[in-house]
Every structure is written in C-alpha cells, then in structure tokens.
C-alpha cells in the first residue's frame, strides 16, 4: 500500500519555546575516533548530506526539536502508514529488522534489530524464522518476548480497530478461518500463521512463498506490544517503548515529548546511537513559519520530510549560503495521473495515448514544484530507485505534441477531441496546478477537461477510488501519487497495477488498471526467486503500463530539504528519502 508522505498544509499550532538548540550538557561520552565535538562544523555544500554523513559525531546530550505542520495518522506502531512515522518510530520502537541508518542506497539495506539476524527461510520461502536477541526490555523493565511481537502483528491486522496501517500481513499470513481479530476472537489459536515455540523464537507461515519477507519484518507492525498494556485504538495515547526513547508528554495534535528509556540496553542495539537527551515534537505548526524557523536555527527538523514550502524554496535556492545547507533527494515516489480505462472514450488505447501526447510534461513538472522541488519528468510509472527500472522512451517529454495527439485522436475515432472530467484533491495546491495545466495543454488538442476537486480524506474511499462514482460522473482522469513501501517492484507496484486489488466498495489506489497481461506478469514475478529476473519482470510491467497509456506520470518526486543548524549525523536515508531520524544528535 501507499506509504504516505505528509503533504504540508497550513494549520494552526501550539508554540515551541524559543531558543536555539542548546549545545548538549553533561554526560557526554565522545568517541575520539569520529568525534567532531569541539571540531569546527563540517563544510556546508549543496547535497552534502545526500550520499555521506554530514557533520558526524557521537556526542550525546541536547534536545532535538522537530515540528510538523500537519498531523500524521498515529504513533501507534500497528496503526500508521506515513513514511515520516515509519522513520520516527524507530526512536521509540524496535521491529524485527529495520533499515540501516546509512546515507543513500545503503540506507535501504535491512539490518537485524530485535532479531539477531535477518530471517531464515524454509519450506521454499513459505516459512520464516527469527531469533530475538537476549536482554531486550520494554520501558517498564519487563522483558520483550516473541509473544509480544506475535501479538503486535496480530493486532495490527484488525483493520476495523486500527484502520491505518498496511495490510501485508493480512494478505500473506496463513491464518485459520475462524480468526477475526485479537479483540473479537482472542482465544483462537493462530499458530498456523505465527508460532512462538519459545520466548526468543518467532516463526511466520505464509499462504504463498515470498522471498522478500524481511521487508515485512521491517514493518512497524512487528514492533512489540505488551498484551496487558494494549488499549486498542487508545494505545496511541500510551505507547510502551522498546527503543532508546519513551514518551513523556503525549498531547495528540499538539505535541509529543520523548525522553530516554533507561531499560534500553545499548549492548543489544548495534545500530542506534541514541545521542539526544530528549525530543520535542510540535504538531500543527504553520508550514511557512516552520521553514523560517528551520532556516533561522530555532527548529532542527521538519518532520514531514517532504521539502520546504514554495516561499522558502525561493529563498533557499536563491541564496548561495542557504543553498549550501540544502539537500535534494529523489524519492521512490511517482506523482501521476490515472487515466481511467473503463470510462469511455478512454477505453480505447489511442484516446489514452492522445492524452499523454498532448500533455505539457514540463508544465506538469512545474506544477509539482519544478526541477528541484518537484522532480524529474517521469518517463514511466516506476521511479528509478526501484530494481528493474528501465528508461522508457515511448512519449515525448516536452511541452506537448499537439500533432501526435491529433493523430492518436483520429486513430481512436475522435478527431475533434472529446470531453471528460478530471478529479483532483482539492486541498492540495500542487494537484490543483496539475489539473489546471492539463486543462490548458489538452485543450490545445481539443480534449476538454472539466475540473472537479474532492476532499483528500475521502478521495479514494468515496470519489476517485470508488468505481461506480467514477463511472457515474464520467471521471476520465484523476490525480494520484504513490510511494514505495520498500524499494522493489512489489513494494511499489503491487497495489497500483494489479486488477485484483480493485474493490467495488471503494478505497482503491489502483484507479482503473485492469489488464490480464499485467496480472499474469505479477504472478510470475512473485514466483520468481532470482532477484535480477524478478526485477526485470517488474520493469516489463512498467513498460506495458506506459504502452497501454494507463497512466500519465508527472514526476519522480524530489524534495528540497534544509539541514538543521547545530545537529550532527545529518544524512538522507535511501529508505525514506528524507533525513534519517534515528541517529541525529546535537552539537
């Protein structure tokens, strides 16, 4: 499913107290080898944090100040689907395996966290076993056992109580038929799906083999939850920490404060440095104000990690001193427009192709923010960081080719063009800009668009993602966007091109690709055990999507991030394409 990146949106906010980040106080143990404590700040340069660690240090202490303009779904590990949350959660929770805190592509590699090593597969990839390390404890001192991990996974599957998280476990674990949920059917034996032969071992049984199960094990759903402290949907108000920090103040919608978890044993945790003394997270801070504060040094991190606002963008890119503090990562995310192949006349492939020919690709890039803040013009649905990516060259990427568009229109029997409705998320200015751009560029070829904005919250549930609403309202185009849950073809494509994920009742992300060839190829890919061959199949799926013009991709998203002043170990992780929140420290 979609790992959402929080889109900045002006909202109100409670204050963060002023004052620059204090240079950390007592108790500093510094490792002389990397120590840059006391050493002059590293040289600022554009993209210095992209592939290398900027300002490395092991100095402990200080308060890390983060803020975000919009709230995210939940701090409950079993109930969250935002990239920023999956990034942040590793501070207070430990999953079976996790993404290595390293810059760039290294950050996509998985390292064992609660487990001693990556999963051991058996039974041809249908069974996966993990052994937990010794000495793991929750914040109250109780030991973490495999049963806590099992419980966490099971509870995260209850989509009626915890509606937000991904459904990979639901779809893949071999559950008994009478199991509904840990809350409704707590006594059903689920050993067929997850076994815990002893306190240190956990075994997963899948319905079908899947070679990439470690990706599932990295999901926050495997962060252990003690059953006796689980309060269902209210757990988010008191999450029991397994990581180096625990919640101190919890004011949902306003702020979170985290302090050190004394029961976290660094000896059990080779990846975390746990440098700051505490974290202060403010929610609902005005987006422009947030940027100003980061630039001024009042705040360290914009938690959303999706880049600065347009106003700050001008400042950052225009001022060489500020530009030197910026990093410009490319994300595993594509912003695109779905072309509904079940709404006439777009059921004809040439009519669909006409749309892509006529579209002003540069204009679409500008709508998303231009070459720095928007992204590179996308030639296919899959972003370049996904294995199996090939550069496709099926359509021009200029400002729109009216000639070719008219040819395609003639081929599909509509030489004079046609009319259709375009849906977009009304409260996302960039999507509004996309819609306006397409209206202009397609209009030149005779394709008239009627623009309709819908509220983001219900967009997939009730409007663009609901098949009969789409048909009834003649919606031919709908803005869309997708970020990979993890960087392989399955993690990116599975939910958006597989026709079997489409539900009549709504809530679809695959807005209308129903292509038997693609479905067949997906099945092929899932069975393929050789990684290179498997990736190649996903590349072919991408190609078919574009040949059949199911999708008009706009950009592979990029963002302009600003490095915090006074922080250490700043780098962009390839896992989330934003600053890695795990090992940030203070100077």
């Amino acid at each position: 499913m979609n790992k959402r990146s929080a889109v900045a949106f002006a909202a109100a906010g409670a204050a963060l107290s002023l004052g620059l980040s204090a240079c950390g106080g007592g108790g500093g143990e510094t490792t002389p080898a990397d120590g840059s404590s006391g050493a002059p700040a590293a040289a600022e340069a554009f993209n210095a944090g992209l592939e290398a660690v900027f300002n490395p240090s092991d100095k402990k202490g200080g308060v890390l100040k983060m803020a975000i303009s919009e709230d995210w779904d939940s701090v409950d590990p079993g109930d969250t689907y935002y990239a920023l949350s999956w990034n942040l959660i590793r501070i207070y929770g430990r999953s079976l395996v996790t993404y290595t805190p390293a810059p760039g592509a290294e950050g996509r590699k998985l390292s064992p966290d609660l487990a001693e090593s990556l999963g051991e597969s058996s039974d041809d990839g249908k069974t996966w076993t993990y052994k937990l390390r010794a000495g793991l404890k929750f914040e109250d001192g109780t030991p973490i056992t495999s049963k806590d991990v099992k419980y966490a996974v099971l509870r995260s599957m209850d989509k009626e109580t915890l509606v937000n998280g991904p459904t990979y476990f639901n779809d893949w674990l071999d559950l008994p038929k009478d199991f509904k949920s840990v809350y409704k059917t707590p006594d059903v034996n689920t050993d067929s799906a997850i076994e815990t032969p002893d306190d240190q071992t956990i075994v997963f049984h899948l319905k079908k083999a899947y070679a990439g199960f470690d990706n599932f094990a990295a999901l926050p759903g495997t962060i252990p939850v003690p059953k006796d402290k689980d309060t269902g949907v209210k757990y988010r108000e008191k999450v029991i920490a397994s990581g180096p920090y625990k919640f101190d103040k919890v004011e949902p919608g306003k702020q979170y404060t985290l302090v050190r978890n004394e029961h976290w044993d660094p000896a059990t945790d080779p990846i975390r440095k746990a440098l700051p003394d505490s974290y202060e997270i403010s929610l609902g801070v005005n987006a422009d104000d947030l940027d100003n504060r980061v630039l001024a040094g009042d705040l360290h991190i914009d938690l959303a990690g999706s880049g600065v606002q347009p106003a700050a963008l001008g400042r950052v890119l225009g001022d060489p001193a500020l530009k030197a503090r910026a990093d410009n990562p490319t994300g595993a995310r594509t912003w695109y427009t779905s072309i509904m192949s079940n709404v006439p006349p777009l059921d004809n492939v040439d009519c669909r192709r006409a749309i892509i020919f006529a579209a002003d690709r540069v204009g679409l890039q500008n709508a998303y923010g231009g070459e720095f803040a928007g992204g590179d013009i996308a030639t296919g649905l899959m972003p370049p960081s996904i294995g199996g990516w090939k550069k496709l060259d099926l359509y021009p990427t200029g400002t729109g080719d009216v000639e070719k568009a008219k040819e395609a229109l003639t081929a599909c029997g509509k030489p004079e063009g046609f009319e259709t409705v375009m849906a977009y998320r009304a409260d996302r200015p960039k999507e509004k800009a996309i819609a306006e751009s397409l209206q202009q560029s397609l209009g030149k070829a005779g394709i008239k668009l009627d623009l309709k904005g819908y509220p983001t919250g219900d967009y997939f549930a009730l409007y663009a993602g609901k098949p009969d609403f789409v048909k009834k309202n003649g919606i031919g185009l709908a803005t869309n966007g997708w970020g990979a849950d993890w960087n392989d073809g399955f993690g990116f494509m599975s939910q958006i091109v597989d026709s079997r994920t489409i539900r009549e009742s709504g809530g679809n992300y695959n807005l209308s690709i129903t292509d038997k060839e693609i479905d067949a190829k997906i099945d092929e890919a899932l069975l393929e055990t050789d990684v290179a061959k498997r990736d190649a199949i996903w590349g072919e799926i991408d190609q078919r999507v574009m040949e059949q013009a199911y999708v008009l991709p706009s950009v592979w998203s990029k963002s302009v991030l600003v490095r915090p002043q006074g922080a250490t170990n700043v780098f962009v992780t390839g896992a989330f394409d934003m600053y890695d929140y795990l090992n940030l420290g203070l100077e």
């Binding site: 002006a10 906010g13 801070v285 504060r293 009304a426 009742s505 809530g507």
Partner: protein, 337 residues
C-alpha cells in the same frame, strides 16, 4: 424584572432548539434530498477499508436508516447524556456533552473543542477590549471635533479599515512584522495565559491588532454617527444650559445614550467572534474553534462540522442573552417592556 429574565431565557432556549434543528437538517436532510443514501453517510464515517457489507451494517447500527425525527432525537439527547456508537466493530463512547463523534479521528468532538475554546476566547476577548475602547474613543473624539483634520483622518482610516479584508491585512502584517521585521510572534505560536501571561499577550499581539483594527474602524464610525445624533438632541442643550461641565455632558448624557445601540452590536459581534473567528484564526494559524471548523470542512468530517456549528451558535445565543440581561440592568424601560 423576573418575567423579563424568564422570557429571555426561554427565548434563548427556543433559539438553540431551532438552531439545532436547522443544523441537523443541513447535514442530514439536505443531502438526502440530493440523493444521498444511508450507506453514503456510513461510508463517510467508516474510512477506506470498509466493503459494501460492512458499510450496510454500519449504516444500520449507527441508525442512518431510522426516520429523521428519531435520528434528531438521538443526536439531541446525546448532547445531554452522552451516547455510544456501535459501529459493528467496536463500541465508541462519547461522554456528555456529546456533540458528535469523529470517526475519522476516532475521538469525540467536544474535548477537542474544549481545548480550542481558550484560544478563540483569548483572541476574541482581547481584541474586543481593544476595539471597544479604541473604536468608541475615536468615534467620540471625531464627533466632538467634527470636521477637523483629526475627524477626517480618523474617519478615512476607519473607512479603509472596514474596506480591507482581514485575511489580506493579516497576511500582509504577518509578512511585514513577523517574518520580515521579526518584532511580533509568527503565526501559530499561542501560549496559554496560565502558562505565561507575557508570552500569551506577545503571541496574540498581531492577531489582536489586526482584528481590532477591523472592528474599531466600524465602531468608530458607529459611535461618531450615534454621538452626532445624540449631541444634537434637546436635552443636551438643556444640560449645557444648566451649567454642567462639558465632559460630564459628553460622557454622562451624550455617550450613555449613544452607547446603547453600540452595546447591542458589541454583544452580537463578540458572540459571533467567539463562534469562530474563522478568517483570523486561519490567517494566523491559531488553533481555535474557527480553525477547527475549517479543518472539519476540508476533511469533510461531518460530526465535527455539526459539533462546531452547534457550539458556535451556542456562543452567539449566550452572548445575546447576556447583552439582553445587561440591558435590563442598565435600562429600566426594558424591564417593564
């Protein structure tokens, strides 16, 4: 006197009932007329993972298939005694006063509102003090110095004040004073009064001034017009003829009479402001009731919208009631009427 109070109270209650009925029909009856079904309501509540069956079940359980009066009755009684929502998956509790339960955020509406009321209250009360004093004083002075430079200048500024949209002045002053010069607090930095009164005032300074400017302008105009009319009355001439000091004439006779309509409007304005200074809160990113309303509408969160509308209307009615009761204290004619 007592009958007057009772009549006013009954009137206020009736008003609230009517407002609640209108609010309810807007959200539950009008969509029906537009073709919405019980399932549409339920799916809006449920979020994206529900399938058709679950939605139908939820629609039944949440009572969307019941006749409208029953639904209304249930909602109203919920306000007084609280209610429970059985979605089929879980039972959500909504303690009294239950103005609604937001399924999208999985929280009752009221606690959120309670959190936000102090913000709106701070904004409204602070600004209202400034504009009342400033506006009335300016109006009185303008009336007394009719035709002078002061009068012309003040009235021109006042005219400008009522002609500028507050979201424009707000943004401009934010950009100039907060982002640019850095002398006022940036948007969204509200500190509760009890935490730090100095910081509280500082964080609200710009919104207060911007909001007060708008209202002070119109109050200045009103006061001036009212004063001019009053001061030309016969009894003023009489008072002067009796040898009363001019300041006493102005304040005790002139202003007193001119003030009555001003106070009516003040009560209403304050009440409306408390009900949600939507534009100011939006512009300055203050987490008050108005901002809550905007959020609710943008996310299409029906229970929140209803809850906010009701609470806002409650404030307005309350404010009007208080003004009416104050009238009874101040003006004996009212008591008898």
């Amino acid at each position: 006197m007592v009958t007057y109070i009772i009549r006013r109270l009954v009137g206020a209650l009736l008003m609230l009932v009517i407002v609640s009925m209108v609010t309810f029909s807007i959200f539950f009856v009008i969509p029906r007329i537009a073709g919405a079904t019980a399932e549409d309501f339920a799916s809006r509540y449920m979020g994206r993972s529900a399938d058709a069956e679950m939605i139908a079940v939820t629609a039944e359980k949440l009572g969307f298939n019941d006749p409208i009066p029953v639904q209304y009755g249930r909602w109203i009684s919920g306000v007084f005694v609280g209610s429970e929502f059985d979605t089929g998956a879980s039972i959500e509790e909504c303690p009294a006063p239950c103005f609604g339960y937001s399924f999208i955020r999985r929280q009752p509406v009221w606690p959120d509102l309670v959190d936000r009321i102090p913000v709106t209250l701070s904004l409204a009360v602070g600004a209202s003090v400034i504009w009342l004093i400033g506006g009335v004083a300016t109006g009185v002075l303008s009336a007394l110095r009719k035709g002078t430079i002061f009068d012309r200048a003040a009235m021109s500024i006042a005219l400008a004040g009522v002609s500028l949209p507050i979201f424009f002045t707000g943004i401009v002053s934010l950009v100039v004073f907060s982002y640019g010069l850095g002398i006022t607090a940036p948007g969204g930095s509200f500190t509760p009064f009890l935490e730090n009164p100095a910081q509280w005032a500082y964080s609200l300074l710009l919104p207060w001034i911007t909001l007060a400017f708008l209202y002070a302008a119109s109050y200045a105009r009103l006061t001036r017009a009212g004063m001019l009319e009053t001061m030309s009355e016969d009894y003023i001439r009489t008072a002067r003829a009796k040898g009363m000091r001019e300041s006493k004439v102005v304040v005790k006779h002139g202003l007193r009479a001119a003030l009555t309509p001003i106070l009516t409007i003040f009560g209403l304005d304050l009440g409306l402001l408390l009900g949600g200074a939507v534009l100011t809160e939006s512009t300055f990113s203050l987490k008050g009731i108005g901002d809550y309303a905007v959020q609710a509408i943008v996310t299409n969160d029906l229970p929140k919208i209803m809850g906010v509308t009701m609470v806002a209307a409650l404030f307005v009615v309350l404010a009007s009631l208080i003004v009416d009761l104050l009238y009874a204290v101040v003006d004996p004619r009212v008591r008898l009427g």
